[in-house]
Amino acid sequence: MRRIKFALAAAALTLLAACGTAAPEPVAYRPPSAPEAGATFNSTDVMYLQMMVAHHTQGLELVKLARTRGTSEEVAQLAGAIEVTQTTELEVMQGWLTGWGEPTTAGHDPNAHASHGGLPITGADEMAALRKATGGQFQTTFLNLLIGHQHNAVEMARMETDSGLNEKVKDLANRISLSRTEQIKQMLGLVAA
């Protein structure tokens, strides 16, 4: 296996070299590759990523449960788009942590922060509330839970943008903050409709 990989790499290099000398050709579109985080980071970057891995995982549980229940098409589409984009974000964050040799989950129960105001609503609370909701109340409960959940994501992003070090992690925190704010806008429109 390793030998095959090496052979492929060698072949790729040869091809690259060949391209280098060939006449310029139209540049083919290359799909974007996963963002790299680099090697410089501080403990806030690590803690933020670990917290967000947990938070994303909880959010994914919520949107996946919504898929199995009756919601409007608009809500189902929003949940679906959140699911796929958040899954990619989750993989990127786990990849960065692993690349740094850090665990992808915080070493302790996230509820440990509850005493000083952190991670205020746990995934277990959210899931329990959502499982209990039935009929027409399901969609309202789902939206209100997810709105609160995404407000929490914006609050946590602030920690990273204030005291993180790694620019890529800060970029991601900015992205998450903006994205969640926009999602909240959509959901507030849907819940009030």
């Binding site: 579109y29 799909p31 974007p32 590759s33 996963a34 501080n42 403990s43 806030t44 803690m47 608009e74 589409q77 929003l78 679906g80 788009a81 796929v84 984009t85 990619t88 974000e89 990127v92 922060h113 000083h116 105001g117 952190g118 205020p120 609503i121 609370d125 959210e126 329990a128 509330a129 109340q137 309202t140 209100n144 839970l145 709105i147 609160g148 407000h151 914006v154 609050e155 946590m156 992003a157 602030r158 920690m159 943008t161 204030d162 005291s163 970029d171 900015n174 992205r175 903050s177 903006l178 994205s179 704010t181 926009e182 909240i184 806008k185 959509q186 507030l188 429109g189 819940v191 009030a192």
Partner: protein
């Protein structure tokens, strides 16, 4: 060597982290439906609200007030009745739904119209559920009313304030939800498409150049042949351009800023 440097950083990180973790404690909850004034600001349906659009959950002030902004100067806009707040049409019984971002032990929930308390829910210091709903009778009230909903925290002197503009009862068939209360010229500012990707001051992804902020959008037919734009309902199979590349939509969704084609959205947009 690295370790020696890292320790103080770790210590610093923990301090800042606990401060940051404490910050959600200043942000807790609001009424999302029928929409409170802060929810209307956060949804973009009412614009020009100032900072409350980013933290509708933070309208917190000392208990006992009878205003819409908890006495906070930065949220004074919520108390400004001259701003054409859209009113929601409701019947004589309404379920008020809250978004909570922190579940503080709760003394009570109160609902007022015109200084009269019309509903009271005693929680006796319990921690609320992850979501909270109350059914409130509006019997005896009609027409346009501003309802004040208050969440009294159990273990602090603070409360959360929400004003909710309602059009109560038999006001005729399907009254416009934006029934204007005042003498303002009725070109309703609330009808405006919520296009601008509301630049959140501190926050903006650094990568995507050429922000599409100038585009008038609104959930339109999808403009499948055009440039990607936020606020557009895209269907599976729609094709768009973004920064010179063509993409096909892989999953129907209504677009938002950050869902433009990128590595993070490969499941939404496939390059073609």
């Amino acid at each position: 060597m690295r370790r020696l440097v890292a320790y103080p950083l770790v210590a610093l990180g923990l301090v800042t982290a606990s401060l940051a973790l404490a910050s959600p404690a200043s942000a807790h909850g609001y009424v999302s439906s029928p929409p409170s004034r802060q929810a209307l600001c956060a949804s973009g349906r009412v614009t020009g609200c100032g900072p409350v659009q980013y933290e509708p959950q933070s309208v917190e002030g000392p208990k006992g007030q009878r205003n819409c902004h908890g006495g906070l100067a930065q949220f004074a806009v919520l108390n400004d009745d001259s701003r054409n707040w859209p009113a929601t049409s409701v019947g004589s019984s309404v379920t008020f739904n809250w978004v909570l971002t922190a579940r503080h032990s709760t003394s009570s929930w109160e609902y007022f119209i015109g200084g009269r308390r019309i509903a009271f829910f005693e929680d006796g210091g319990r921690q609320p559920n992850a979501t909270v709903s109350h059914q409130v009778s509006l019997a005896g009230f009609s027409g346009r009313q501003t309802l004040l909903a208050i969440w009294n925290i159990g273990d602090t002197p603070m409360a959360f304030y929400n004003c909710i503009d309602l059009q109560i009862g038999g006001g005729g068939p399907a009254p416009s939800p934006t029934a204007s209360p005042t003498a303002r010229p009725s070109t309703s500012p609330t009808a405006r498409p919520t296009a601008r990707p509301s630049a959140q001051p501190t926050v903006r992804p650094s990568s995507p150049a050429g922000s599409p902020s100038a585009r008038p959008t609104g959930p339109g037919p999808g403009a499948p042949a055009g440039e990607w734009a936020p606020g557009t309902a895209y269907r599976t199979g729609d094709e768009i351009s973004y920064q010179g590349v063509r993409y096909r939509c892989r999953q129907s969704h209504t677009s938002i800023v950050t869902w433009e084609p990128s590595y993070y959205t490969l499941a939404l947009w496939l390059p073609i």
